[in-house]
Symmetry: C2
Subunit: 412 residues, 2 copies
């Protein structure tokens, strides 16, 4: 089943707005096995829209139009569609009632332009919009469909999910695919693929799809069943095996985040946490507290950017700083251990590294980071060598530190 997307809007052509609607539609339609074969953007102009429809409609099973349905512009799209499908507008009573209720509930006066939003083409199916006043429209002619949707993303998404996808699935006998995603940290994409190649083979032999979705520091692994949710149990079994094989790497599923996962572990174990940060300069603390309710376990941090403060407020020995340098195993260990005491916390993570772009030497190049961890009475440190991008190095440090902490908490 083929689909063409037609987005209407000058703001898309001049780059004021990015056409995220098209990519969201592409993702959602792929999930039900429909194929977007072309995506077009044209201006808010009747002739441009008609020309695009003339060109697309005969070549596809369904054209999905987004945009041009607001109260100020609705004449263009609706009238253009009436012309194209040789029909006319009439007040659609259920839609008018909804618009009236919408304005009444907000205590706002209704203008003539709002009433006109209930004027809809006679020969089309109305796709109700729960999130705004512009209804969706679905035309049919010779077994081909043309759908017109508002451009406001959350209104468009609501109508597509609740009204359009079920209709397309039924009329084109499509099956919803089922996806589930595991989140891994700390193993690069190609190395990961090598380690789990037998697992991957079995997934593909079973007829499931497997996608590696890498982003800086993370690799997501998505298994897809083309038969739908009935394969859920079997897919979970594959993920259970993965997690048993790579417990250091797999930190969660679907929309989990490391700060959330760690927050739950700390809450369950009734442990408090703090950080002593040099290179990350607060990024680690800020990530830990990005979860609402973090004050239950996060107490505070010492950001010791200067060597003087490493010594003065965290008690790192001048000797270690002079003999080993600030970016060293010894200093990372002292930062974590002393920090736990000064902050009075059960768990303390420390970071010290060369984020770049400047400050690297032959022995200690840009991207070198030591992370210290004081937990359950022991203090350990790990060395990481990242790249030459400052921002990326800091992100990688935080992800690596949090995932390491997670694994130590799980193992306890």
């Amino acid at each position: 089943m083929n689909i063409e997307i037609l987005a209407i809007g000058d703001e898309l052509l001049i780059g004021q707005t990015i056409n995220t609607n098209a990519s969201w539609l592409g993702q959602e339609l792929s999930k039900i096995g429909a194929r977007v074969t072309r995506s077009i953007v044209v201006a808010d102009d009747k002739h441009r829209i008609l020309e695009a429809l003339d060109h697309c409609y005969p070549e596809t099973n369904c054209v999905i139009i987004t945009g041009g349905l607001g109260p100020t512009k609705d004449d263009i799209t609706k009238h253009t569609l009436c012309e194209f499908f040789e029909t006319k507008l009439e007040i659609h009573q259920p839609t008018l009632t909804k618009i009236e209720a919408y304005f009444a509930s907000r205590n706002r006066p209704m203008l003539e332009s709002n009433i006109q939003q209930a004027a809809l083409p006679v020969d089309c199916e109305i796709l109700p919009n729960k999130y705004g006043t512009a209804a969706g429209m679905m035309f049919e002619k010779n077994g081909r469909y043309c759908v017109s949707l508002p451009g406001v993303p959350y209104e468009m998404k609501g109508i597509v999910t609740e009204e359009l996808i079920p209709r397309l699935m039924q009329r084109f006998q499509l099956k919803a695919m089922y996806h589930y995603t595991a989140l891994t940290q700390g193993i690069g994409e190609s190395f990961l693929a090598e380690q789990i190649s037998d697992w991957e083979d079995r997934i593909r032999e079973r007829g499931f799809g497997l996608a590696y979705l890498p982003s800086p520091g993370l690799v997501k692994l998505r298994i897809t069943s083309y038969e739908g949710k009935e394969d859920q149990t079997e897919i979970m079994e594959f993920f259970r095996e993965l997690s048993n094989r790579l417990p250091e790497a797999v930190f969660g599923y679907e929309h989990d985040s490391l700060p959330e996962v760690i927050g739950k572990l700390l809450n369950n174990k009734r442990k408090t946490i703090g950080t002593v940060e040099s290179c990350t300069s607060g990024l680690l603390a800020q990530q830990i507290t990005s979860v609402s309710g973090a004050s239950d376990y996060f107490m505070g941090s010492l950001l010791t950017y200067s060597n003087d403060l490493k010594h003065r407020i965290c008690g790192v020995s001048v000797d270690s700083l002079l003999s080993e340098g600030a970016v060293s195993e010894k200093v990372a260990l002292e930062m974590a251990e002393n920090g736990a005491k000064k902050l009075g916390v059960d768990v303390c993570i420390s970071t010290t590294g060369i984020a770049g772009p400047n400050g690297g030497t032959v022995d200690k190049p840009v991207g070198l980071v030591w992370v210290g961890l004081c937990i359950s009475g022991k203090t350990i440190a790990r060395k990481f060598q990242f790249g030459d991008n400052r921002e990326r190095n800091l992100q990688m440090t935080v992800l690596s530190a949090l995932n390491w902490l997670r694994y130590e908490l799980v193992k306890e």
Copy 2:
């Protein structure tokens, strides 16, 4: 002058990648007065590309194609263009030399597919690519142009800025508009517009354009001359007036950032800085250190998330915490003043607030933030009331604190 954009790539249609190239091109082409009339995405498929070219090329002055030039896929686009323009591929020696140098400098072996990237159509102008191995191509036929560019954004942007825009301006006699942008913080868009309405009127009377570009916490003001850079001095005069009228709000121009502006001020005045943060939990320190070289002035921070740590490591009095609460003027003042001493810095900023979504009361609702500032021997505090979005509140706190600090440094 009309332009059509044709993006090639399955990844765009299935929504794995968002077509940001098209919106960037729309913005840049608008700046030279060219008009994007349509933007199309098609699959990596010869027939689809040819069909799109047949349809677009006769209707426009220039088609800009992005994507499909990588070493794995280049056959499709290049061969398709050769077919369309009835020409053939030949090794382009300057491009081959560049590709050879590229691989030699990285000490990587060159594959046959890399050599094939130097095979380019005979009848086209080559647009050199300084950032990668796929050259841009510019075809001409009957006064119409067709440009093919790689899809990798920074390669595409480099070729467009350095090679394509100058050629289009010359061949279509376009004039580059001249833009200059002032950055303001702390005054909302509509309130700002009211305060400077006479200034705005004079700008418009002079024939310049004025755009308000709001983003969370900031409003950018962009003046545009349609005549080009010759109006620069006059535009600067308008901005000088704005800055004199609103010195608290105008913090910089063009690509300035508050952390950079503050870094320069601190360096010039040879002052050091530290922070004592509660609600922002490191975000302020992290922003200050987002500038390379921040270690010249930033020493460190105390993140006192818990009341216990506010007292224990920052010396906030138990009395103030109990009588006024952690989110209060008194605690913000003590945090900043004691922090300056503990950290041994010239300037110390403190934050304490209710970021939300939970923790608000009738007296102290979500979004209430106190910022303290200890500078040149005096300590002052300011109250802010933001909204109910946690992330937004933290961002607004950081921007407001940094801009306040900037103004205090400038006034000194």
